[in-house]
Symmetry: C2
Subunit: 262 residues, 2 copies
């Protein structure tokens, strides 16, 4: 059973994951970050030791969680070949990155991907965060899944191909949705209206699909083929050609989905 | 002060609004719907009388809330000219419809628009629902706003022009956002993955902007100009040209917003 964990990285994922692991009785034996102050800060929070020197990483931990920026994973993992034994259980935490990016040297390499958006100011109910596990070897997969079950009730075995698909879907419901919030924000601001007008609607829209399929709760002018309202909206958007184009594309999508459903 | 209210319409808005008004001590004296069973059902819930006959609407109420489909407002309001006195306080509840659609006969005509998405299965915390009020006459506006303050802590004076803008913004953050949830749902389903994987992310994305501006919490490949991830995502979307187009347009929007911010 995994008990001693080294956290490699000190960003948002490392912060939230580290605190949850500790809360659930796991032992963070070390935090690495190439930024010494950030390593110190997180190690302080987790009551453990910090290092900014990859070669000082202890080689005897049960698990190494690699929570660095996507574009740094390959480089850091390659450097770890000189530091860790080949049977070390090493997993990156990225949704966008295949396990194959980790050196073949690590026979137990894998992925431990918590599917949530983490930010400094907000705490998240980690017990509900889906954790997507995958490893080259079945025993390593099992070890990662057992670890995941200690910190979350939502644990999934997801291979590289499925995770790539999942990551695109996450971009749609998270990054792109947030951009639609931005459009709403700006449309209101230019009319001198407060964004607070839209906040309850945003929250309820997300709450509605927690127990229903999105297609079942789709409403609006496109869903009911209300062309006169659509025409009025497009006139409102005349000064914003990119948003008018977005309006048309999204309305077309809604119409097609309703036709398939109907 | 408004005390006796007639509800015209028996859809979702009439259901939620009627129950909230009653809960806050207002008296629903009558429910009208052209569908007698629906009028009966809502009247039963509200402990009041039902009618499916416009001419049977009592002419002495303090306020008439017209919560029918957008495309029925003009017709029903025109028919009410023969039934109600010209000083009757008549307000429709539509965000998409100007007050000018109500007959000039009604000197106290206006709008009482609760900005939320209502569904049969879900109760909503109405005390947080923004209510947008507007009327031709200042005294009517004041009466509607005073009524709104009895059922919500978020009451706003919003004229036709501002409300038209607000309604487009609401379509972006509600209808279009829900469509992005649909895209996520379908991308997952075709890979055999459960939508539950995305539900916590959807909720947290909405929760994040409750106390921050969307642009401040924007993340993702487009926000950090991560072109290699974008290229991988677009390959994932090769079989879905409309979604690939949406991906490009939304990513462009995010990039432009980040440039303006930066």
């Amino acid at each position: 059973m995994i008990q001693d964990i080294v956290l490699i990285g000190a960003g948002q994922v490392a912060h939230h994951l580290g605190q949850r692991l500790r809360q659930c009785g796991l032992h963070i034996v070390q935090v690495y970050s190439r930024s010494r102050p950030r390593a110190d800060e997180l190690a302080g929070l987790l009551g453990t030791i910090a290092t900014a020197d990859l070669e000082a990483i202890v080689p005897t931990a049960d698990c190494y969680l690699l929570a660095v920026r996507d574009d740094a994973i390959a480089e850091v993992a390659a450097a770890l070949v000189a530091v860790l034994p080949e049977l070390a259980l090493l997993a990156h935490t990225s949704g966008a990155t295949p396990a194959t990016i980790l050196p073949p040297y690590f026979r137990n390499a894998g992925v431990f991907y918590p599917l949530q958006t983490f930010s400094r100011q907000r705490s998240v109910d980690f017990s509900q965060v889906p954790i997507c596990c995958f490893a080259r070897e079945a025993t390593a997969t099992e070890a990662l899944m057992a670890l995941a079950r200690r910190i979350s009730s939502s644990v999934h075995h997801i291979d590289d191909e499925a995770r790539a698909r999942l990551h695109v879907a996450a971009v749609f419901v998270n990054n792109f949705t947030n951009y639609l919030y931005q459009v709403g924000y700006q449309l209101l601001r230019e009319e001198g209206l407060p964004f607070d007008l839209l906040r309850p609607l945003i929250l309820e829209t997300a709450a509605k699909v927690q127990d229903q399929a999105p297609v079942a709760v789709q409403t609006g002018p496109a869903a009911r083929s209300d062309h006169s309202t659509e025409a009025r909206h497009l006139r409102q958007l005349e000064a914003y050609p990119a948003w008018a184009e977005l309006y048309r594309l999204l309305s077309d999508g809604i119409r097609r989905a309703q036709e398939r459903k109907g």
